[in-house]
Assembly symmetry: C2
Homo-oligomer: 642 residues x 2
C-alpha cells in the first residue's frame, strides 16, 4: 500500500505555481533564543500536559469506546477527535526534532487506538459512531465530521513526513478514499461548515500524489458560497463562509477561524492549480483583512457573537475576540501566500501575528492557554489549563513544534530567510546541492543577526534576507565589510554570489521603540497609541503602573526608553518606559456624561512615570488584574496646570 | 368570584411606602404634540400590525391548537404566548383611551381563545402543553413558563383596570392560584430564569388584595441568587440574575432585560413591604448602571453575547446591544423608583430613555422595529416588521398605549408632573377632591410649557413641576407674573397654594444645544462628543452629511445652531447644525497602523459643514445607510493647515 509514494514527500509543494517552496521538515533547527525556548517548553511541558488533558476530558476514551476496548458514554462536544489529531501532529513534529521514548509510545498507542476505532469502510468519527450512528453526513453545517477528518489528514501527513512510518497515513487514506467515494459532483453534494479538510486534502495529495484527493479539495471549495448553510445567532451564511462563492469573495467575514482555514486551503489549491481567479480572490480578502479588520497584534475577530470578524474598522480592544486559533490560521494562510507570491507583506503579518496575536495564547508555564485574546482587560482575565472547546491548546502545540518550517523557503535560485532566530539551516538546492548555514541572534530583543555559511558548493546561489518593515535602519556587513548600499529587492536584502564556508553576514536592524497610531476610522481606539519595538507590540500592565490603566494618558512628545528587565522571562526582556499622566476624574463624581466643560482638562499631577511595558501578556506568570495594549493620547486642547 | 375586589384597583400601589403614587389609568390624556402623535400611530397602525403579525407568526394558532379548535403544530420559540399577552395589554389600554369596535372584538376573541386553552387545573402555556406536556416546570432557567405567566397577569390587570371586566383577570388568578399551590418554601423551589412574574404578581396582589400572590412574588425573589442556574455561552449564573442574592447585589450584570425586569419587580415588592434592604440594594444597582453602564441614550446592554451588560465603562457605540426591551425595562424600573423615593434622578433617566433609547426601537410608520439599537452603524441597519423573538414590538405598543401613566404622580399633598407633553390631567386628591388641569407645550422642540388649572376645590394643594437637569435656564411665571426666585425643592418647582380655575403657570426651559462629553474612562468614545438639545440626544446621519461619518471631526469651539426642518416628521423638527472637518486619510493608503506621524494632523479642507442632526433614528422614514450618535473631537495636538 502506498508503494507508489515518491521520495519528494518532505516538501509542501512542488508545483511550479509555488514561487518560494517550504524546506524539508528537518531542514531548520531552532538552536537557542526566543523561539527555541518556547519550543523547549512545548516539548517538555505542553505536550505531556496536552496528553493528560485529552485523557481527562475523555478524548482518548471516546476512541477506546468506539474501538470496543471500553464501555462508557461519549464525552464532550462533537469535534473532540480533532484535538487528538492536533496533539498527534504536534507530537510527530517533536519526535522528529527530538526522539523521546515516552512520547513515541504515547503516539504509537494513540495511532493504534485510532486504527481500532476506524470502521471497516474507512469512516472515522467517534462522535457520530457513538452518538448519532444513523445521522452521518446529515449535518455538514455543524457536524464537524469533515473538519475532524481534515485534522486526521494533517496529523497523518506530519507523522509520515516526520517518521516515514505509513501507519497513520494509511488510516487517513482509507478515510479519504471513503470520502472520495461519498462526495463529488455526481455523488453527495455539500461543503463542510468548518473548513479545514481543504488544505488537509491538498497535503494528502502532495504526499500520495493521488489526484482524487486534490479533486475532492477543489470540489469542497467549489461547493461553497451558495448561501444555503444555516447561520448562528445573528449571523447568516457568512458564519460558515458560505455567503459568496470563493472566487467572488472580496472580504473576510463571519467566523474568523473558518475564514482563515478556508483561505489557507484555497491558497493550497492555487499552489497546485495556478488558477488566477483563486489568487485574485485571496488577495482581495487579504487586503480587506489587513487594511480594515486586523488588530495591531495580528489578532482576528472583533466579535464574540459567532467568533466573527466585525465590520470594517470595528476593532474594539476590550471586547475583541482574537481567538488563538484565528491567529494560527492567519499564520498558516500568510505562510501559503508567501509561498505563492514571494512578497514580503505576508511574512510581515506572519511575524506580527506570531509574536503578538499567537503567543499571548500560551502561558509562560506551557500549561495554560487563552482561547480569547483581548487587547485590554480590566477584570482579572486568566488563562485556563484546558477548555471545553479545546481547539486552541493543541493548535498552539503543533505550530510551536513545527515553527522551524516558517523560518525560510527556497527556490531554484537559492534560499530566503523570513524569520530571525538562532538556528541552523540545512537543505539541498535543486535537490542535489547541499548548503548549510547558521544564524545567531538575540532577536527580538536585539536587532543584530549573524549568518555564517557552513556548507556550500562552488557555484553561485542567492540568499535573500527579509528587512522587517518596522526597522528604522538596516546596517549590513559582509565578511566584516560594511555595505553602504546593500542590494534590496522587494523588501529582501539580496546576495547573489559564490559562497565560501565561513562567509559571514551581519545584519543590524534599528530597534527604536515606536508609537503606533491606528487609522482614525477605527472608532474604538481613535486618539490612542500603541508602543512597538521591533516585532513586539507592548502591553501596559496594572501590576507595573499601580493605577487604573484607563486613567493614564501618554505624552507622545516624551521619549520612549528601552530598559533591560532581567527578572522577566528566564533570559530577561527589554521593557519600555514612557511618560504620561494620571487624569483626575474626581470632578466627574458619579456622572457618566456631562456638558463639555469648557475646553480644558486638568491633571492630578504631572510627573515622569516609569511604566513598564511588558511584551505580550504571555510572558508574565503572575496573575494580572488588568492590561492594555493601547493607551490614550493626551486629551485634545489640553491646557493643564502643573 | 373576585367579588371582594375593592374599588381602589386603578391605583398601582396604596402602600404607605409609596411616596408618589401613580394616577388612575384614565387620569391623563395626551392631547397633542410629540407623544400624542406617537400614540396615535400606535393606535391606528401598530396595534393592528401586531395583531396581523401574531396571526402570521402562529402565536394565535398555538392557542387555537391548545384549545382543540384547530389541528397543527406549535410554531415559534417557547415564549410565543407572551407576545399575545403584551399585545393584549396594549390593546386594553387603547380600548380604555379610545373605544373601538374592531379592536374590542379582537381582544374579546383573544381572551376567549386564551380561556379555552387554559387547562382545568389553571396551567396555561401553549408551548409546554403542545410540545413538552411531560416536562412542565423542569426547566425554570430557560423554559419561560413563569415569564409567560407574568405577562398574562400584567395583561389581565391592565384589562381589568381599563374595562372593569374580570374575564381575563379570572384566567390569570386561576393560573396564579395554581402557581401558589405549586411553588413555595414547602413546595417546589426555584426561580424563573427570566424575571417578569415578580412585578406581575405584585400587581395582581394590588387589584385582588390576595396576600398569597405577594408572598409568591417575594418567594421567587428570595429564591434567586444561589448561583445554580445554567449560564449561556460565556456567561454564568449572572445571565439569569442568579449570581448573588437580591439583597446583596451591588451591580447590574448579565442579561439587561432580565436585570431590569427583576429590579422593577423588587421595587414593586419594596413598595408593598417597605423593606429597606431591598431599597438599598436597588440604589446600589441603579448607581452602578447610571454611573458606569448606561449609554447616553439611556440604552442598556453593551454586549451581543447574552444580550448583557458589559464591564464598567464598556460602552462601545457600534456593537452595543441596547435592546428595546431593556430600555422599556429601565423606564419601568425608574418609574417605580420614582414612586418609592420621590427623587428627580429617576424621572431624568426615564425621560432620557423614552426619547432616545426607547423611541429608536420604532419606525415612524409604526410598522417596523429595532430589537437592537446601535448608536453607530455603518452597514445599512434597518428596522424589521417583526422578529422571530418578537418581545420588543408588543412591548413598545404597551408602553406607548400607557404612556399617560408616566406623566404625573400624586401624594397626600398634591400633584407632581414629571414629563411634559400637551395633556389633560384629572384626578382626585385624597380620593375625594377632584382637580383638573391642562398642559400645553411643543416640548421637546420648544422649552415653553403652559399649565392651566381647570378644576379645583378651594383648599390648598401642592403642585410640583420637574425642572429637567439639562435645562440651562428655567423661567417661571404665575398668572403672567414672572417669579424671580421660584421655589425649587429637590429639582421640582413647588407651588403650595389655594388654586383657582384659570390659574396659569408658564415655564420656559432653556434649550441651548449642548456638547456632551463621556467620562474619560469610557474607552470606546474617549475624545468624542454627543450633541443634546433638551431631552433629545441627536444623531448624525450620512444622508445629511454626504461623507463617511467616521471621517468627520467636530470643532467644539464653533457654535451649535438649531434650525427648523419642516420636512421631517409631520410637524417638522428642530435639527442642529455644527461645524467640523473631514479628515484626509489619503496618506494612510491601505495601512491600518503606522508610526505616529510627527504630532500634527492635516485636514483635507476646513469649512463650515451643515450637519443636520436628527433626533433618534426613528424619525426618518427613508433608509439610512449609516448613522452615529457620537462624533470625534478634533485630534490632539492638531496643527492643521487651511
Amino acid at each position: 500500500m502506498l508503494a507508489q509514494m515518491d521520495n519528494s514527500h518532505t516538501e509542501i509543494s512542488h508545483s511550479h505555481f509555488t514561487r518560494w517552496r517550504a524546506l524539508p521538515l528537518e531542514a531548520v533547527t531552532l538552536t537557542d533564543g526566543f523561539w527555541a525556548q518556547r519550543q523547549q517548553i512545548n516539548r517538555q511541558v505542553s505536550l505531556q500536559h496536552g496528553y493528560n488533558m485529552l485523557e481527562k476530558a475523555g478524548n482518548f476514551q471516546n476512541f477506546r469506546i468506539a474501538a470496543d476496548r471500553e464501555a462508557g458514554r461519549y464525552q464532550g462536544r462533537e469535534f473532540m477527535d480533532s484535538d487528538v489529531y492536533k496533539w498527534l501532529e504536534a507530537a510527530a513534529y517533536e519526535l522528529h526534532l527530538n526522539p523521546n521514548d515516552k512520547l513515541q509510545a504515547q503516539v504509537d498507542q494513540t495511532i493504534d487506538l485510532i486504527a481500532a476505532a476506524q470502521q471497516r469502510n474507512g469512516y472515522l468519527n467517534t462522535y457520530y459512531q457513538l452518538v448519532k450512528p444513523n445521522e452521518m453526513w446529515t449535518d455538514l453545517d455543524f457536524g464537524h465530521e469533515l473538519y475532524c477528518a481534515g485534522h486526521l489528514f494533517q496529523a497523518a501527513v506530519a507523522h509520515y513526513r516526520a517518521t516515514n512510518d505509513t501507519t497513520l497515513l494509511e488510516i487517513a487514506t482509507r478515510l479519504a478514499d471513503y470520502l472520495c467515494s461519498t462526495f463529488g459532483p455526481d455523488k453527495r453534494l455539500g461543503a463542510p461548515g468548518h473548513p479545514e479538510i481543504e488544505m488537509a486534502l491538498v497535503e494528502l495529495y502532495r504526499v500520495t500524489q493521488k489526484q482524487p484527493y486534490l479533486d475532492l479539495a477543489a470540489f469542497f471549495i467549489d461547493q461553497r458560497g451558495q448561501g444555503k448553510m444555516r447561520g448562528l445567532g445573528w449571523l447568516g451564511a457568512e458564519y460558515h463562509q458560505d455567503r459568496v462563492p470563493v472566487r467572488e469573495s472580496c472580504t473576510v467575514e463571519g467566523h474568523a477561524v473558518r475564514a482563515m482555514y478556508l483561505t489557507a486551503g484555497v491558497t493550497d489549491l492555487y499552489l497546485e492549480t495556478g488558477e488566477q481567479a483563486l489568487l485574485e480572490a485571496l488577495r482581495r480578502q487579504w487586503k480587506d483583512m489587513v487594511a480594515r479588520k486586523m488588530y495591531i497584534t495580528g489578532g482576528l475577530g472583533s466579535r464574540y457573537e459567532g467568533e466573527a470578524f466585525g465590520n470594517a474598522y470595528e476593532l474594539p480592544p476590550d471586547q475583541c475576540y482574537c481567538e488563538t486559533c484565528a491567529a494560527i490560521g492567519s499564520i498558516m494562510w500568510n505562510w501559503r501566500m508567501l509561498q505563492a507570491t514571494g512578497e514580503r507583506r505576508f511574512a510581515e503579518v506572519m511575524e506580527r501575528t506570531l509574536y503578538n496575536g499567537f503567543l499571548s495564547g500560551l502561558a509562560l508555564s506551557g500549561q495554560a492557554f487563552f482561547y480569547i485574546n483581548p487587547l485590554l482587560s480590566s477584570d482579572n482575565y486568566q488563562r485556563q489549563e484546558w477548555y471545553e472547546v479545546a481547539c486552541c491548546p493543541p493548535n498552539i502545540m503543533r505550530l510551536l513544534a513545527s515553527l522551524g518550517q516558517y523560518v525560510a523557503t527556497q527556490d531554484n535560485h537559492g534560499l530566503q530567510i523570513h524569520l530571525y532566530n538562532s538556528a541552523t539551516i540545512k537543505t539541498e538546492l535543486d535537490g542535489k546541492r547541499p548548503i548549510a548555514l547558521t544564524m545567531t541572534t538575540e532577536y527580538p530583543w536585539q536587532g543584530s543577526v549573524k549568518l555564517t555559511i557552513q556548507d556550500t558548493d562552488d557555484a553561485s546561489w542567492q540568499l535573500r534576507l527579509r528587512v522587517p518593515d518596522w526597522s528604522t535602519t538596516a546596517a549590513v556587513a559582509l565578511n566584516g565589510q560594511t555595505l553602504n548600499d546593500p542590494p534590496i529587492d522587494n523588501g529582501y536584502l539580496m546576495f547573489n554570489r559564490v559562497w565560501r564556508s565561513g562567509d559571514e553576514i551581519e545584519l543590524n536592524f534599528g530597534l527604536d521603540p515606536l508609537f503606533i497610531e491606528p487609522h482614525p476610522r477605527v472608532d474604538a481606539v481613535r486618539n490612542s497609541l500603541a508602543i512597538q519595538r521591533g516585532p513586539l507590540v507592548y502591553c501596559l500592565e496594572e501590576i507595573d503602573c499601580q493605577v487604573d490603566l484607563l486613567d493614564i494618558q501618554i505624552d507622545p512628545t516624551a521619549p520612549l526608553q528601552p530598559t533591560w528587565e532581567e527578572d522577566l522571562l528566564p533570559e530577561g526582556i527589554i521593557a519600555v518606559e514612557a511618560s504620561g499622566y494620571v487624569v483626575d476624574f474626581d470632578d466627574w463624581q458619579d456622572n457618566l456624561y456631562r456638558p463639555l466643560s469648557g475646553f480644558s482638562i486638568k491633571f492630578l499631577y504631572v510627573a515622569i512615570m516609569a511604566f513598564q511595558f511588558v511584551t505580550s501578556v504571555s510572558l508574565r506568570e503572575s496573575p494580572i488584574n488588568s492590561f492594555a495594549v493601547k493607551i490614550a493620547l493626551l486629551s485634545p486642547g489640553q491646557n493643564f496646570s502643573v
